[in-house]
Amino acid sequence: MSMRTVIVACLVSCVVAIAGAAAQPASKTIALPMRTDGPKSLDPAAGSTTYDNMATVQFYETLLQVCYYDESRFEPLLLAAMPERLDDGKRYRFRLKEGVRFHDDACFPGGRGRTVTADDVFYSWKRLTDKRNGLKNWWLLEDTIVGLDAFKDAQNAALDAGGSFDYDAPVEGFVKLSDLEFEVVLTKPVFRFLWVLTMFQMSVVPREAVERYGQDFASRPVGTGPFVLREWVPKQKLIAERNPNYHACTYPEASLWSEADRAAGLADAEGRRLPIADRIEFTMYVPDQPVWLEFQQGTLGYIELPFDYFSQAFNPRTKRMNADLRRRGVGYRAVPQLDMIFRAFNMDDPVVGGYTEDRKKLRKAISLAMDLQEFNDAFYSGLCVVYDGPIPPGLDGHPEGGRVQGAPRGPDPELARRYLAEAGYPDGRGLPTIRFYTSQGGNNADQVELLRRQLGRIGVRIDVQLVDFSTLIELVNKRSAPMFSFAWLTDYPDGENNLALFYGPNESPGSNHWNYKNPEFDALYEQGVVMGPGPERTALYERMRDIVIDDCPMIGSLARTRYYLTQPWLKNARPTERFWSWFKYLDVDDSKR
């Protein structure tokens, strides 16, 4: 045997030996990607990011959930029925589903999870008021429930004075009728309250677990969710297994699905007990290449296609999937985001701010000089929707076709120059250089070059400051950034969430980053916030949208569309970003693996 044969034999043996180390997935196991380095906490009260949400909802549940078959609606999850609306929406009566138990855990007597009661709901919501949890999610309930703001102030004051936070202290708006029935009294009939109840921060947690595990509670979830935590290696992987005691939840009926969804086989699992998969395994991915390669290897059940790889999977012009992926049976879903990418003005700034006609003209001139479609084509593979105003596609108040008559949508350099002259700066003469802040991440360095070029065409000069995100937020909160840019992802599918960004009392450091103040807008907002969906509220939203467009505190907007690819073996997959508890519906067809 020659030396060459020996070397080849050795190499082949090594390859075979190493290859054996790759574990084969067990049946009904689904590998899923988590872009970025994953959740930071599994405590609903401490979570805030998409990835906290994605992980937490596998273990905890809320009273209501977004419908898998129709993301614009919600349905009971821990409740036996939809809450009863009383006193014109100032009071809601809830009835919890019977027999819902927390996961079995050592924090309960005998290690057996106990039944969820109304006290658990009140306790969980009170945790949002505890400053030891950071108050980062307090905005969800602030000025919403009678007595809860006073409870928060009193208990945190007690903490400051060296006392303790008394979770047993009563809150006027929490009325317990029985272990399973309770009422919540609102300060005003805020419609968004029901949407807030679908958000993961409002999940129900057991007091025993919080008290037993202390700070470690953030990594030891004990909820009612469809899965229990098997292993979490932060920034690497998270493995969850079927909760054997999961309450009676079934796959949505066929009649609830749209015709197209039924044709896609999404209704085939009608009536099946959830969760369908035995095990879900999340892997965290920071760079894009590994997630794309592993999807092609067939390892991952689905992926959100990175923008940079779009042209590898789709024809960028026709948006048709490439032949190889089609042949392999890969499916896809284009998911429009409730997204608002914008350039903003600080309305308190002496140059670009203000409400006089000439200030408005200046801002509109800048808006008219911009070509958002060019940004879309250059940086988002043309996948964004360009629209006027602050309400993204799919929500009440979004303009038909994305256009509003009279909106300062560019590119219109002629009109921009005219407005600029009328603002007192013919061809930009006399206009100081405007300082523009944006974060360093992504392709922002390239985006600002395009912005500089577009504004330069009408003589507007900008001094670009690329800063890290914390500095950007700090400058915006301190009202030191005359012009800035970032994006807003709507928290719940109601245009009110975006319009709240322009409500005067929310000014910096609140969510009204532009410090926009318009009494007419504020009055309309206060009127709209208590209204349920309907033509009257839509008309109100449209009026508010048009006021914002006319005052022009922002230039925008763009809404991203994400493409999700799914493996042929992954069943019931209808990827969405509106909520993240849909993994319980997923199934595996092993014959197609």
Partner: protein, 325 residues
Amino acid sequence: MWSYVVRRVLYNVPIFLVIVLILMALLRINDPVAARLGKVASAEAIAAERERMGLNRPFLRQYAEFLWDFARMDFSERSWDQAQTVGQVVFPSVVPSLSITVPALALSACVSIVIGLIAAANRGKFIDRALMLGAVLGMCVSYLVYIILGQKFGAFWLSERLGTRVFAVQGYEDWTTWSQPLNAVRTWAHYCLLPVLISVVVTMGYDTRFYRAVIVEQATSDYVRTARAKGCGERRVMFKHLLRNAMIPIITRIMITLPFVVVGSLLLEIFFGIPGMGRTLYNSIINRDFPVTQAVVALLAAIFIASNILTDVLYAVVDPRVRLS
């Protein structure tokens, strides 16, 4: 020797204190609280978060408390970014880093020294030029290119061709928990061998040129001519006489690399998803997790100081002419 070591340690204490002081001051130039709370942050929420993070304490108190904890090797402070203590974040990342860097360092040092010797022995000839050209080409290509091509062809393409997954595209499994050595090696190779090979290819270019230069310099020394005049064979001259005298720069180079062995290879760890020290440090900086950043940098500074002292001691061990005083 021990008095020398103790003296050097004492000399370095103020340096260490200044490093930590500068680090902590630099970290606090920008307020991390607003970034943590995102775009919706009330003044009240910012204040509560600042208190929770301990940033409401005077700076010097934060500094003193950190040093006190570090002196006692107490890493029980909570990470700001993860639901774990600093110790739970930092220490589990040591083994994954070493799984890459130790084999990579050993392999690249051995291969580079051998190639350096071959090149030096054939100085000016075709083989020398070919090896040096290869080294320069290796240095010219970016680390990222090797990583991207390695993942694409070494992991993905190879797996497609062979129909079995030889190397992981990314990920890591703790190979030290296997009771059977063969399984441990297989698991290590599946996740770590490709990054190790990439690391060797990249560092070999620099190392080879350095070792060749060192050996060429030694090859012109009088003692080499004397050894040859006495009739020593070329192999004996190279490995017994020349290599031993070249050990000081070789040790220096390896010892300088040691702290980076512990801190890991940042790019490899990020792209291959290996939860090592480099990635931990990077994540802590990106996520403004001050407790973890401070702990890792302080540990790194201490390791740097220790490796410097150890280098001096090793000089004396390998070269009797060096006296520690």
